[in-house]
């Protein structure tokens, strides 16, 4: 098990280095000289040159890369080119917002998706199962921002149950925090719930038809225990989908953060891209990769626990 964990950690670190290095060079190629975007077009050439020197942009690209990498390795992502505030501080402010929404959305997808998936697996062709099929068609056909707007219109504007925009930190108010993340999370979770439910339902039916299940039933096991065995065998695929969804929802958070005006990493990525604030972009990339690595690592651990054969791969 230890070598399994070590291998997964090594591959995670390698992924982090490769992705952030690639982003560094791609961002520099795409942004070009950032000074007009950062200073505005009335800046004089001398003012632009001064900024280039201040941010180290006047140095060779490889030197800039080494400077960035050597600091990033110690956890220091430098300072923003826009406001010269530490990138770490900005990300630290933003991460809780995005994580709140994405974790809540994933939890909703897990709880509701698993419940619906099991229910549909137990009664294929039933009312709930047909409803799931319809929901999968409808929800995938509808754009995410449209779903968000419908939720805002109903629950924020008409009913006034939830705020239409903004984020409340749990330090300020726990109920305020829950209310501020509910609509964004639900709008992110709707499609995910259907995906998890479908995956579990299909896996459940596939496993339920296997010989060992028939044997279990023949041995006189109760429905409840048979279901537990089926669920354990059907769960790896659903867990994988759930982990992939978490990663996908991190990306999908950009749209939701804009619609709900949330100060998360999605909206920070958008604003940093617009003005060419490369240190912030790199910091955000690194943080996102770390999340992906952690989630995949946890998934591997869980799958390894569920099915020991996985550990040998």
């Amino acid at each position: 098990m230890l070598s399994f964990i070590a291998k997964r950690l090594m591959s995670g670190v390698l992924l982090l280095v490769v992705v952030t290095s690639g982003t560094f060079f791609l961002a520099h190629a795409a942004v070009g000289d950032p000074t007009p975007g950062l200073l505005g077009n009335s800046a004089t050439p001398a003012q632009q040159a001064a900024l280039r020197a201040r941010i180290g942009y006047d140095q060779p690209l490889l030197v800039q890369f080494w400077n960035w990498l050597s600091h990033a390795a110690t956890g220091d992502f430098g300072t923003s080119w826009r406001n010269f505030q530490p990138v770490n501080d900005q990300i630290a402010l933003r991460v809780p917002v995005t994580l709140s929404v994405v974790v809540f959305a994933t939890a909703l997808a897990a709880v509701i998706g698993v419940a619906v998936g099991i229910a549909c697996g137990l009664r294929p062709g039933g009312l709930l199962d047909r409803g799931l099929k319809l929901a999968s068609v409808v929800l995938f056909a509808l754009p995410g921002f449209w779903v968000s707007l419908v939720l805002v219109t109903w629950f924020a504007i008409n009913l006034r149950w939830f705020p239409a925009i903004g984020y409340v930190s749990p330090d300020q108010s726990l109920t305020g925090w829950l209310r501020s993340i509910t609509l964004p999370s639900v709008s992110l979770a709707l499609g995910a719930i259907v995906m998890v439910a479908e995956q579990l339902r299909n896996g459940f039916l596939q496993v339920a038809g296997q010989d060992f299940v028939r044997t279990l039933r023949a041995r006189g096991l109760s429905d409840r225990r048979v279901t537990a065995h089926v669920l354990r065998n059907a769960s790896p695929a659903a867990l994988t989908v759930l982990a992939l969804l978490f990663v996908g929802l991190l990306g999908g958070a950009i749209v939701v953060e804009i619609v709900f005006n949330l100060p998360g990493i999605g909206s920070l990525t958008q604003s940093a891209s617009q003005i060419g604030d490369i240190p912030v972009l790199l910091g955000l990339t690194a943080v996102t990769v770390v999340f992906v690595v952690i989630v995949n690592f946890l998934l591997d651990l869980v799958l390894g626990w569920v099915n020991p054969k996985v550990r040998d791969r």
């Binding site: 200073l39 505005g40 010269f84 099991i118 924020a156 239409a164 903004g166 509910t182 639900v186 005006n261």
Partner: protein, 509 residues
């Protein structure tokens, strides 16, 4: 049995979410009902550019900076400079020296005193500033005559200086904070509000608390001000509908809904929309150096149609860049380039381009709404446009290198400022003012710049405006309004030149 239990679990989860919402909605928080005017909660289109007034933008930074800084000179609703920290001022006979008396008893948040030395430090800082420096191009020096008097000497007469200062280029910051570079981390001013850094979330919500002993406290009625930068106009409108905002920078498309809600609606001309020529001498594309070609382009566009289709009808069809609310604007000239494709083609033919010509133009997503109309019109005229797509920051950087480009350019609320901003001074959107290449224009500009401010100067500006329209200096389609919604009990007075007005223009009433 199992399936029933699972369904019950799903139902319980949904009920729990509903219950959470239900039991907390009575608690108020951010969703109090519509007409809550206890505090100002304004949705601003953009985030604050910088807390350092030298690095800040004029456009949408006004509300943020006006909360925490006092200006040397302010503007009234018509763009006329009025006293603030400078209580009165006087020009020398040659209008090359401005002497201003300063308010006494004002201190900055860090305890530093506002006096002539502080004003001089600020003016020098603003003159050196990356963004603010544009307003002080003609300022040679500033000095303290005594503790409460400052003297500004100009290298060249500048009748728009006080206007530019009032527009958002004379916010006074603590000299110690300027010296130490602390303004990048947060404001240190003497303004009517204190920035609540702990209660604010940068780029999401800024909270300000009113000072009880500010010298101009009567102008600022709200005990608390919350400013929300919201770039997505749908999100902003939803927040207004839900009661989270009581003032918003609005999209004119939502006007019917605003009327339905009984909100106050305020609009005023803010920018001109059309084609900007960066090559009026024909250095890149010879045809554009011929005024008949530019006139042909002006005749070809269906400006009223574009205003209705793209601008939601919120604006005024005109061919002038002097604000429709100003003294120089001449309504009677608006018929000069009535939409007439036949006339446009005849003018092109007369200029020697019967089959049109080819030109490259930049394009960015935010101009995409106007692109089909431009493409069709240029096409009908025989002008073959090769659009070159780029992101918005690249558009601002590169557009002026093209011979012409689609533009939405801010208007000035002062006619002399319009002359400098749009005609005589190099700007990002006007990199090579070509006044020298047009003797009639040049002569009128010189006369305007030498004239006595007041009616005489205005008359000359009118002549210059007529000449510029005749030369088709720009192909202006319309002047677009900025619109603001506010709930009953709060009024917003828009000011041309400020994309979002400063807090002195947001009042109860």
């Amino acid at each position: 049995m199992t399936s029933r239990r699972t369904s019950a679990l799903v139902a319980a989860a949904l009920v729990a979410v509903g219950a959470l919402a239900g039991c907390t909605s009575a608690g108020g928080g951010g969703t109090a009902a519509g007409a809550d005017t206890g505090e100002l909660k304004a949705g601003v289109f953009l985030d604050v550019t910088s807390w350092d007034p030298a690095s800040a933008d004029i456009g949408f930074d006004g509300p943020y900076l006006s909360a925490v800084y006092d200006p040397l000179v302010a503007l009234d609703k018509d763009g006329k400079p009025v006293p603030a920290l400078a209580t009165k001022w006087e020009w020398s006979a040659d209008r090359l020296t401005l002497t201003a008396d300063l308010r006494q008893g004002v201190t900055f948040e860090d305890g530093q005193k506002f006096d002539a030395a502080a004003a001089v430090a600020n003016i020098q800082h603003l003159k050196a500033g990356v963004r603010s420096g544009q307003a002080y191009l003609n300022v040679a020096s500033a000095s303290a005559k005594d503790e409460d008097t400052v003297e500004i000497k100009l290298s060249k007469r500048d009748d728009a200086l006080l206007y530019q200062m009032g527009l958002g280029r004379s916010w006074m910051a603590s000299p110690a904070a300027i010296q130490s570079g602390a303004l990048a981390n947060g404001p240190v001013g003497s303004g009517p509000y204190t920035y609540d850094k702990a209660g604010s979330t940068p780029q999401s919500q800024y909270v300000f608390t009113k000072k009880q002993n500010h010298w101009d406290t009567a102008t600022y009625p709200f005990p608390t001000v919350r400013l929300f930068p919201i770039t997505d106009q749908t999100a902003s409108f939803n927040a207004m509908l839900s009661g989270q905002l009581n003032v918003q920078f609005a999209n004119a498309a939502n006007l019917p809904k605003a009327k339905e809600n009984g909100w106050n609606i305020a609009s005023r001309a803010a920018s001109w929309v059309g084609v900007q020529y960066a090559d009026r001498t024909g250095a890149q594309v010879k045809a554009l150096g011929d005024k008949r070609v530019r006139q042909a382009i002006s005749h070809a566009f269906d400006a009223a149609g574009i205003l209705n289709a793209v601008g939601n009808g919120s604006g005024t069809v005109t061919n002038q860049v002097f604000s429709v609310d100003g003294q120089v604007y001449d309504k009677s000239m608006n018929d000069k380039y009535k939409t007439d494709m036949a006339k446009a083609k005849a003018l092109l033919k007369e200029a020697g381009y019967p089959d049109g010509f080819s030109v490259k133009m930049p394009m960015s997503p935010i101009f995409a709404a106007w692109q089909p109309a431009a493409n069709q019109t240029f096409g009908e005229l025989g002008i073959k446009v090769e659009w070159q797509d780029m992101a918005m920051p690249d558009y601002q950087k590169n557009a002026p290198t093209y011979p012409m480009f689609l533009a939405v350019i801010a208007l000035a609320g002062n006619d002399m400022a319009t002359l400098t901003d749009q005609v005589t001074t190099a700007q990002w959107y006007n990199p090579t003012p070509s006044v020298d290449a047009y003797p009639e224009v040049k002569a009128l500009v010189e006369q305007v710049e030498k004239a006595e401010p007041g009616p005489a100067q205005t008359e000359l500006l009118k002549k210059l405006n007529a000449e510029l329209v005749d030369e088709a200096w720009w192909s202006v389609w319309y002047q677009a309004d900025n619109t603001y919604f506010s709930v009953k009990g709060i009024t917003v007075t828009p000011v041309t030149g400020m994309m979002f007005p400063t807090l002195r223009f947001i009042q109860r009433g």
